[in-house]
């Protein structure tokens, strides 16, 4: 008889391999895996938590039937065109580190065999992850990164649902222009020379440096002057010399692009040094996380921030109010720009999968390039989602738009964002000039 030990070994290896491979083969049809990369720890962790919760809520709605929610994805449990297959989200924490993000993306593609990717908030990480997705031909929908560069790489496996900073920074200058023309609610026309001097401080990765450049370009186009523009490290523990540098040029408006912990530190330092700008604006991100208002309290009153979603949008969009209520039950917070966009990103995935009717990357690609989601399906106040297939910004949603909100104290004593821009949607008078610290 041949060596019995060898036969046993061969048999057990065969069983082991079968045990590992079969489940995938058996259950493949019932489960759609989407790898989601977010900063769940580190300086942007509070945004990461919101992003995760937004995506999870959308997946819950997609995977079940909710008759009283007027959304296509709430009508079926799972993806109808795939036999009711449910979406499983596999979350990975990139900690804000692009190299780690790229590694995790590879793992998701090769080990977890995901059908698609979503993420990653930090534009620097999304850049690295998009290169990996492009290399392996796996579709990536970017829900939350706004550096314009990302859709200018000519990638075929990259789509972005959120509008990018070109749109958003233009909004800021339209607001400033509106102020000089007396079109802003609650503010009589401001002479241009009163707000002509700008100073900006942006964190120095892909996102912040892109914003800094955009501010420079737009200010030239609109006739403002950037007297000082600083790039700083978002992990810095001390920003006092940066703030002193900004204050030295005595700017009328201070503009920031900061992530979570640095936005809070920046405001604290500005308060410590008694900075007195007439306008203080942040390009979303750190200026919108729950921690911002929670740790700074009244200091935030008067701060403007670009945003994509404010709870007040629920007043004009009932579907937003409904989803916001669900989100509040889940996390205790209102939907914010981050969570609303991760929700919308996953919603875009659901529509793309429905249209594709298959998990083959090429089919998903085709579906993404031809999809059109109407605005009333969305919680965000956009005209809809339609990804460009020609022009400069391939893969960019051309129907998105931004808002500018200002932190104000409501009648109930709570600090909330009021819509200041678009000018015709304003929900409150703008506080101008910025109240003294």
């Amino acid at each position: 008889m041949k060596n019995p030990k060898k036969s046993w070994r061969r048999l057990s290896v065969a069983i082991l391999i079968a045990a590992l491979v079969l489940p995938d083969a058996l259950f493949a049809a019932d489960e759609i895996k989407i790898g989601v990369l977010f900063p769940l720890t580190g300086g942007a962790a509070s945004a990461g938590r919101e992003l995760r919760a937004g995506a999870e809520l959308a997946a819950d709605i997609a995977n079940s039937v909710m008759p009283d929610l007027n959304m296509t994805m709430a009508k079926n449990a799972g993806i109808k065109s795939l036999g009711g297959a449910k979406i499983t989200l596999i979350f990975k924490d990139h900690e804000g580190n692009p190299t780690l993000g790229a590694d995790l993306a590879k793992k998701l593609i090769l080990d977890d065999k995901v059908d698609g990717l979503m993420g990653a908030y930090h534009s620097s990480v999304t850049k690295a992850v998009s290169a990996v997705a492009e290399q392996y031909g796996i579709p990536l929908i970017n829900d939350s990164s706004t550096s314009p560069e990302l859709t200018r790489q000519g990638y075929k496996w990259f789509w972005r649902s959120t509008p990018h900073d070109d749109y958003f920074t233009k909004d800021l200058f339209e607001l400033l222009k509106g102020m000089t023309e007396g079109k802003v609610k609650g503010v009589s026309a401001v002479p241009k020379k009163d707000i002509a001097n700008l100073a900006s401080a942006c964190e120095k990765t892909e996102w912040g440096s892109a914003v800094s450049e955009l501010i420079d370009n737009f200010s030239k186009a609109y006739g403002f002057e950037v007297k000082k523009s600083i790039l700083y490290a978002n992990k810095a523990t001390d920003l006092s010399s940066e703030v002193r540098s900004l204050m030295a040029v005595k700017p009328d408006a201070m503009l920031f692009a900061s992530y979570g912990s640095d936005a809070i530190l920046m405001l604290k330092t500005l308060k410590d040094q008694k900075a007195a700008p007439k306008i203080l604006w942040g390009q979303n991100a750190g200026f919108e996380v729950p921690e911002f208002v929670n740790s700074l309290g009244d200091t935030t009153i008067g701060v403007l921030t670009r945003t994509v979603f404010i709870p007040k949008v629920g007043q004009v969009k009932p579907i937003a109010a409904k989803v916001n209520a669900m989100y509040k039950v889940k996390t205790g917070n209102d939907l914010s720009g981050a969570s609303a966009r991760s929700f919308t990103g996953l919603q875009a995935w659901v529509h793309v999968l429905e249209k594709a009717g298959s998990l083959k990357p090429a089919d998903i690609q085709k579906a993404a390039n031809s999809i059109e989601i109407p605005g009333d399906e969305l919680v965000v106040p956009w005209q809809g989602i339609k990804f460009a297939t020609t022009g400069d910004d391939i893969g960019q949603n051309t129907l998105g738009s931004g808002l500018i909100g200002q932190y104000q104290k409501g009648a109930d004593g709570k600090i909330d964002l009021e819509i200041i821009y678009p000018l015709n949607l304003a929900t409150a008078n703008m506080i101008y000039p910025f109240p003294k610290f």
Binding site: D238, R244, K274
Partner: protein, 304 residues
């Protein structure tokens, strides 16, 4: 003008704090010739101690200093007796790698227990308060208090080292180990004491710093590098050296401020466009390099 004075004041206040941070390092080196890579991590532990004690007991952060001092002292002695003592038997490289390993261990233990998120003090007698000392120069109350306490600590340590029996014993051990032993000084205990004092001073510095800097497990490294520069400049082992070198390094960190002053006074647009604040820390390392080249013994150096 106000920019210049503002930067000077900021530089000096920061410098005093840095001097206190470096004090522990110079004492340990002076007594034992050991380079403590984990120095920044002790600082980080001091910061967490101050923060957590204040949050847990509700007392003002400034009063947590004694707690930080005690914990720092015990931690220093523990590290010595449990670990560093054995390193001394090995070659120099073992000591370097050993304290490097200690640094990694402490950092990751902190990461395990405290998580990676930034934490900072929200409430305190001095948190968020500032004085206007004229010319529109704002001095943050916490930084001022920290600077004053740093000076007090320095004077205290200097008196300890030079006027008390134990301090003199420490100094003797530093100058000549063999000789000290002949005189009956228990050098083993002196080593532990040096680590205790070194650890204690730096945790107190940490508990002071947390009043205006937020803490996460990774802040140690930046401070270790700055402390090394201060000690190198002032002379390894010299207490007054650490004081003056600290001031100098604090002013070096304010170079962007001085640059701004010149840019604005002489209205030079090209100067304004140079991203000086991005290179804030570069100047420190450049000076470290220059000091090593020109005078490795430092300003007051009395140890080779």
């Amino acid at each position: 003008m106000d920019i210049l004075v503002g930067s000077l004041v900021a530089g000096i206040l920061l410098g005093l704090v840095l001097a206190l941070v470096a004090l522990g390092l110079t004492i340990i080196f002076g007594v034992m010739d050991i380079v403590n890579f984990a120095h920044g991590e002790f600082l980080m532990i001091g910061m967490y101690t101050g923060l957590l004690t204040a949050q847990a007991t509700g007392m003002d952060p400034l009063f947590t200093l004694p707690v930080a001092a005690v914990i720092g002292f015990l931690l220093g002695v523990l590290c010595y007796n449990g670990f560093v003592k054995f390193l001394l038997r090995g070659p120099m490289i073992a000591q370097l790698l050993g304290t490097f390993g200690l640094m990694l261990a402490l950092r990751n233990l902190a990461l395990l227990f405290f998580g990676s998120e930034d934490r900072s003090l929200q409430h305190g007698l001095l948190v968020g308060q500032s004085f206007d000392i004229g010319m529109g120069i704002i001095v943050s109350a916490t930084k001022l208090a920290v600077a004053v306490l740093a000076v007090v600590s320095f004077i205290g340590v200097w008196l300890l080292m030079n006027r008390t029996k134990i301090g003199k014993a420490l100094t003797a051990t530093a100058l000549n180990r063999q000789g000290a032993r002949y005189m009956g000084i228990p050098t083993e205990r002196m080593n532990a004491l040096a680590w205790g004092i070194g650890g204690g001073t730096v945790t107190v510095a940490g508990a002071l710093i947390v009043n205006f800097w937020s803490v996460n497990p990774y802040v140690g490294l930046t401070f270790t590098m700055i402390a090394f520069t201060v000690v190198a400049l002032g002379g390894f082992g010299s207490v007054p050296g650490a004081f003056f070198a600290g001031l100098v390094v604090g002013l070096i960190m304010e170079i962007p401020g001085f640059w701004d002053f010149f840019a604005i006074t002489f209205n030079l647009a090209w100067m304004s466009n140079v991203p000086m604040t991005s290179f804030k820390y570069t100047w420190i390392y450049v000076s470290y390099f220059v000091i090593m080249l020109i005078s490795p013994r430092g300003l007051f150096g009395w140890k080779q």
